[in-house]
Amino acid sequence: MSLILAQACLPVSEAADSPVILRSQGISKAFGGQKVLDGISLQLRRGEVVLLRGDNGSGKTTLLNILSGNIEPDAGTINLSANGSTEIFAFPRPWWKQLNPFDHFTPERLAREGVGRTWQDIRLFSTLNLRDNIAVASPDQLGENPLLALFKNSAIRKQETSNLTESQEMLEDLGLGTRVTASADRVSLGQSKRVAISRAARAGARILFLDEPLAGLDGAGIKQVLNMLEALVRDENVTLVIVEHVFNIPLLLNWATTVWTLKRGHFSVQLPAEVQEEVKADGVNNLRSWMLELAGSDGQIIDRPLAGGATFSTVIPSGRQPGKVLLEVSRLMVHRGSRLIIGDGSNHPTEGMSFTLREGEVCVLQAPNGWGKSTLLDAIVGLLPISNGEIRLRGQPIQSLSAWDRANLGLTFLQSRNNTFSNLTVEESLRLTEQVSLPESLSPLLTRKISDLSGGQKQKLAIYTALRSDQSRIRLLDEPFSMLDRASIQQLQSTLRPGTGEAILISIPGNPEIQGDGKSEYE
């Protein structure tokens, strides 16, 4: 499937002459001793459409949070002139500046200077209807002053009526006119994302930061969101910074004017054309080649496409016969709140998800961000309740067992984040799973506190724990390769072989559907 998008209204050379509306210098941020951003300097010109790309954990969300006022950086300066006047913020802020309640570095301050954002988890106001979600965003409402609101003079009434009318029109432009009184959480994911964008636009955003706006959407949803963003740039002259995971990038490269890349705290600016070349050249299909190597000369790879742009691939290494069924998932449906995450809701009745894991197999679930990989794994492992279906471990139904009972039956899970104990030392953490030693590369770290380790070291420790072999285990690993450099990934891949009576399932972020040719870019 290919999507053809119009060029941005300003060709790149003209954009180079438009004014700089946001500039940052030397932005650094560390969390708990680990440096996430290291001296980032960038500038944004009016009319640009910027793609901010980076892997999970590269710091792009942190940068977004800083530029939208949600977090203060440890050092650096930010110059903002999107709304006419220039504001300069220098960090760290001196204590006497903190005392002035009108001069804080906060999201609302930046919003009044023209910075808007959308959120990965959308964040519509759940007890307001859709029209009010948009209407509330309108700036400078007289009725927001309680004293004025009480006296309901005609100016307020007039303003409110026109506010509601305009908001209603914006809803109708989204095709949601008749849904005006539907509560915000009964709307589809794509519709909520578009309402959220309208809401940010209504608040008067001149720079709009979008946090993974395409996550979790199917082809039609992506098209609608992109059309909407295009219209914003073309008609309202809004400057966009789109934060996206590496895999949705190709869609946007035809349209963007600039690409910002964050790799482990370091920042680079490129033209889209360069990135397109890079993406093509990087078709070195590490994931696929690893799977082929695992399969060997005699083995098999069975690919099964799933709804939502995901693929479930089963690798049966050579020399192994498909063994007995270790993990069987049937008709699984999982909800988060009222939203169905796992299960195919496009059919009636809704179909649950089913798959099996046999002895000796390595299965790879490749799906884009927002598809629900973690939700699926959390449900299998016992961290989330399921709405329907069955899960059997070696034939025994486990869907009503607690997470620790499932773990003791041999089900092991590596979480994608928060998978270590920051306040313990490495040695203490290993004691918990009755491991006594570490591989050579990590043994000097035995007495160190886990919070002092780098992201990569923490991940390696977590992986080492997940791969322990005290009993036959079915190992589920959620995005195990994040935070690791290429050498460590290759090292890990060489050890990922199931033992006797074991199987492995890993989840990988990716969107083979968008790539169009079943292969994925993988770093």
Partner: protein, 299 residues
């Protein structure tokens, strides 16, 4: 008949307090234990204004409401940084300080109303005159009931106007997702100051009516037990809309009557009533966390 009017007056007091507390708990999303303090501020301000300054009903109530609104800063400022458990503790600290101030601000030898003796300490202030509006005296229980009902009606109307206005809408947005509301440029700090001020003023109005009816006020109305009762009322009745507080006020009123009906001895009545509240709180959190008629679940 008189007894029913007596109940009606109390119902109106509870409704006004529930309306105010609903703003704090149901619209700002904060659990509080300071409300009895503001109730007492309203009551004492009314008492002092009418006894010492011979002010009429309206100015005296306005004084109480205004003072409470000003002192609401003690809990609205902490709400900028704190929510949930820690906000509760700060509100408890505020309640303790207010109670302590009311209890201790006196000298046995000094005159009431002077700077040395603002509250008469444990003895309280008695002899509060009946309400007087531009010369009209409300000294029968019937007229008092009417006054209370009209006041409650005005408060409800004002509350409805506010909560259905753009201010009410942005308050709801802040409650639903404060960070998203800030991202749209909404000044949530100012909103909290406004909301708490209005809520505390309303609670103080309830306190003033109480003082006017009972003719007497003392530190016991600022006790933690009172705060807890008021919080129970709002949680059990439900928050986030208008029916909830009304249901809560009715429940607070009905429960002692129900106990009397069940022939619980007077000596035990207070404890049994409180225990019933405790039990209701525990049960409701399991089976109906949004309260009887509310639309907002505690976070």
């Amino acid at each position: 008949m008189n007894y029913l009017l007596h109940l009606l007056i109390y119902l109106n007091i509870y409704v006004i307090v529930a309306l105010g507390l609903n703003i704090i708990v149901g619209y700002c999303g904060r659990l509080s234990l300071a409300q009895a303090g503001y109730f007492a501020i309203g009551s004492y301000a009314y008492a002092l204004a009418s006894v010492k300054l011979h002010w009429g009903f309206l100015p005296a109530v306005a004084l109480g409401a205004g003072l409470a609104a000003l002192l609401s800063l003690a809990i609205s400022l902490p709400s900028w940084r704190l929510k949930g458990d820690f906000f509760v503790m700060v509100s408890l600290a505020v309640q303790v300080v207010i109670l302590s101030a009311i209890y201790n601000w006196y000298r046995p030898d000094a005159q009431l109303g002077t700077w040395l003796n603002l509250t008469n300490g444990p003895a309280g202030i008695s002899g509060i005159p009946r309400p007087d509006i531009f010369g009209i005296k409300f000294d029968t229980i019937g007229s008092l009931a009417m006054l209370a009902t009209v006041t409650a009606g005005i408060c409800l109307t004002l509350g409805a106007l506010l909560l259905r206005s753009p201010w009410g809408r942005v308050l709801q947005a802040m409650r639903d997702d404060e960070l998203a509301a800030r991202g749209l440029g909404k000044d949530v700090r100012l909103l909290k100051l406004q909301a708490f001020a209005i809520a505390c003023a309303l609670i103080a109005v309830g306190g003033a009516i109480y003082g006017a009816y009972v003719n007497f006020t003392d530190p016991s109305i600022a006790s933690l037990d009172q705060s807890v009762l008021m919080l129970c009322m709002v949680i059990i009745g439900g928050m986030g809309n208008f029916r909830g507080p009304l249901a809560g006020a009715l429940t607070l009123l009905a429960l002692p009557e129900l106990l009397r009906f069940l022939n619980i001895p007077i000596a035990l009545a207070a404890e049994v009533r409180l225990m019933a509240y405790g039990l209701l709180l525990v049960l409701m959190m399991h089976f109906r966390p949004q309260g009887l008629l509310g639309s907002y679940r505690i976070e």
